[in-house]
Amino acid sequence: MASSSEDMEKHRKQYWFVGWLLFGCTALTLIVGIKQYYNFGEIFDFGAPGVDGPDFAVGLVIACIKASLVALIFMHLNHERGLIYKVLLFTTIFAVALMALVLFAKWNPIHEAIANIQSQFS
């Protein structure tokens, strides 16, 4: 990283700005989360009253934005060396795979296979 005094001053301002942005995003998440009967789903008519799916999705999108800000600015990923991106590429693949595992909650091949075998004998 460049580290001249001027650069550092610029960074300092940027860190404060991002900090306030993160505070703002947190407040926004709170509003989406605690307003029980008035919410995104109802405004845009793709959900129902009460905090539910659409609100959850909005809340998670805000969380992702916040996480990106922390990673890019505070953790300096916006200008890092190639090797770190390579390491993180693998991490991302595995993390996505871990999340994809939950699809088994809806579709269980083992259970289906057993049911198939059972049906052959009944």
């Binding site: 005094s5 989360g33 129902a48 996480a67 390491v87």
Partner: protein, 457 residues
């Protein structure tokens, strides 16, 4: 020994060594928390109240604590990166100032967390046999079974955890301090010390533990001899695997129902196959009622839920239904406008079917109801055992809390003991702070996701 590339970058990686190290470590941390987040989703989609699971309790947390903790961690992230900037500019005092604020934030986080945990551990839920739930605060130790025993039947092949284990602990305590402490696990003892026991032949049993181990060894040896005899075609002897000890005077225990398997008016059986014989003294839980939760009772049957016979207070019942109907009426216009019925899921959810109850009364027992144990399907405080939500909540927030603690310790070390290195090689010190800061930001990043999924949605 001089470790290379602490300050200058390696030519092949383009990074100083600690940085590539911390990123590899953080990559493994992503896997760790990723697995837990995946487990969270699994558990959440798998909860099925129709199968008797408690519903996923959305917005059950004190949101202000989660919110405050989010702000505290974000602020600490800003402070840690500012402290690094100060080191880069060679301002040791200012570095210490910002780092001090980071440590203060970590301490605030942990204090708020402990307030939150304490509230969970002192709040109890009782699931009744029809699925209605009473929530509140148990009075005294009435969640335990109070039993006065005059004899004990032990199974000599049984395991140690359970009643026998608690006698071991009690004997050790009596030996160590000469007085009772109680409060551990399976059984609490009302009396200051254990009563003496006599065995079937009337002989006095000195130390319970030595007696139990000796008798157990005898039984095991006889069984082994029998096995050999049977193999050689010889006659075997009859083995008595249980023994009854008489207490010199009746003694009272408070048994944790999770460690018992059955009990009646004159006996109490523990899961290590020990039975106490005597009389049941108290088997009614007294609870200070805060809320009635009927999420597992069909909407139209809620008026006849089992909980109302226990509450036995018309005014409280009327108030509960007023609140429930008010909540239902609040969402009704949305569906009316679209010509739809309110979906069952909405009627059964926490915002409609869980309401506070205020019981009027005077004195010590104001607002307290008595719940007989045979009306209880399950009782627990809101600890990890209560339902899958609390299990994963304590696992994830607990692990995160340990990360906060570990990170704060490392950063505090740098703040208090880093001066020497700073004077020797300030850039090396700045790199250390950068690496510690990267870990700290990761801890913040995990919380950014924990806050919405645990507290809000």
């Amino acid at each position: 020994m001089e470790i290379p590339y602490e300050v200058t970058a390696r030519r092949d990686t383009g990074l100083y060594n600690a940085k590539i190290g911390i990123w590899l470590f953080l990559a493994s941390e992503v896997m760790l928390f990723g697995g837990l987040f995946s487990a969270y989703v699994f558990l959440r989609v798998g909860v099925d109240p129709a199968q008797g699971d408690l519903p996923w309790p959305t917005s059950v947390q004190k949101v202000w604590i989660g919110f405050a903790n989010t702000l505290v961690l974000i602020a600490s992230s800003v402070f840690v990166v500012l402290s690094w900037v100060e080191l880069k500019q060679r301002n040791w005092r200012k570095f210490q100032f910002w780092m001090g604020l980071v440590i203060a934030c970590a301490a605030t986080f942990m204090v708020l967390k402990s307030i939150e945990y304490k509230a969970k551990f002192t709040h109890t839920g009782i699931v009744l046999t029809d699925g209605s739930v009473i929530e509140g605060e148990v009075i005294g130790k009435t969640n335990r079974i109070e039993f006065e025993a005059d004899s004990v039947t032990v199974n000599l092949l049984g395991g140690v955890p359970g009643f026998v284990g608690s006698v071991y602990k009690k004997e050790k305590e009596d030996g160590d301090h000469g007085e009772a402490h109680g409060g551990h696990g399976e059984v609490e003892w009302e009396k200051a010390s254990l009563p003496g026991f006599t065995d079937a032949s009337g002989q006095e049993v000195g130390n319970f533990k030595s007696w139990f181990l000796a008798e157990r060894a005898k039984v095991k040896n006889t069984l082994a001899a029998n096995k050999r005899a049977a193999r050689n075609g010889k006659e075997t002897v009859k083995v008595e695997t249980s023994a009854t000890l008489k207490a010199k005077e009746p003694f009272t225990v408070l048994a944790d129902p999770h460690f018992t398997v059955a009990h009646g008016a004159d006996s109490l059986a523990f899961r290590d196959v020990v039975t106490l014989n005597g009389k049941l003294v108290n088997d009614t839980v007294s609870i200070h009622l805060h809320e009635v939760d009927l999420q597992m009772v069909p909407f139209e049957n809620q008026k006849d839920a089992q909980v109302w016979t226990l509450v036995n207070n018309e005014a409280a019942k009327t108030e509960w239904f007023e609140h429930r109907n008010h909540a239902r009426d609040h969402i009704k216009p949305y569906y009316d406008k679209r010509g739809l019925d309110i979906p069952r899921k909405k009627l059964q959810d926490r915002h409609v079917s869980l309401q506070a109850v205020h019981l009027e009364g005077e004195g010590e027992h104001a607002g307290v109801i008595e719940v007989p144990r045979d009306a209880i399907r399950f009782i627990s405080n809101h600890g990890p055992r209560y339902n899958v939500y609390y299990a994963i909540y304590f696992t994830m927030t607990g692990l995160h809390g340990l990360h906060v603690l570990g990170g704060a310790l490392v950063l505090a070390y740098m703040m208090f003991f880093g001066k020497k290195l700073y004077l020797k090689n300030p850039e090396h010190m700045a790199n250390r702070v950068e690496v510690g800061g990267l870990f700290w930001h990761f801890v913040d990043l995990v919380w950014i996701f924990l806050f919405p999924i645990m507290y809000l949605f």
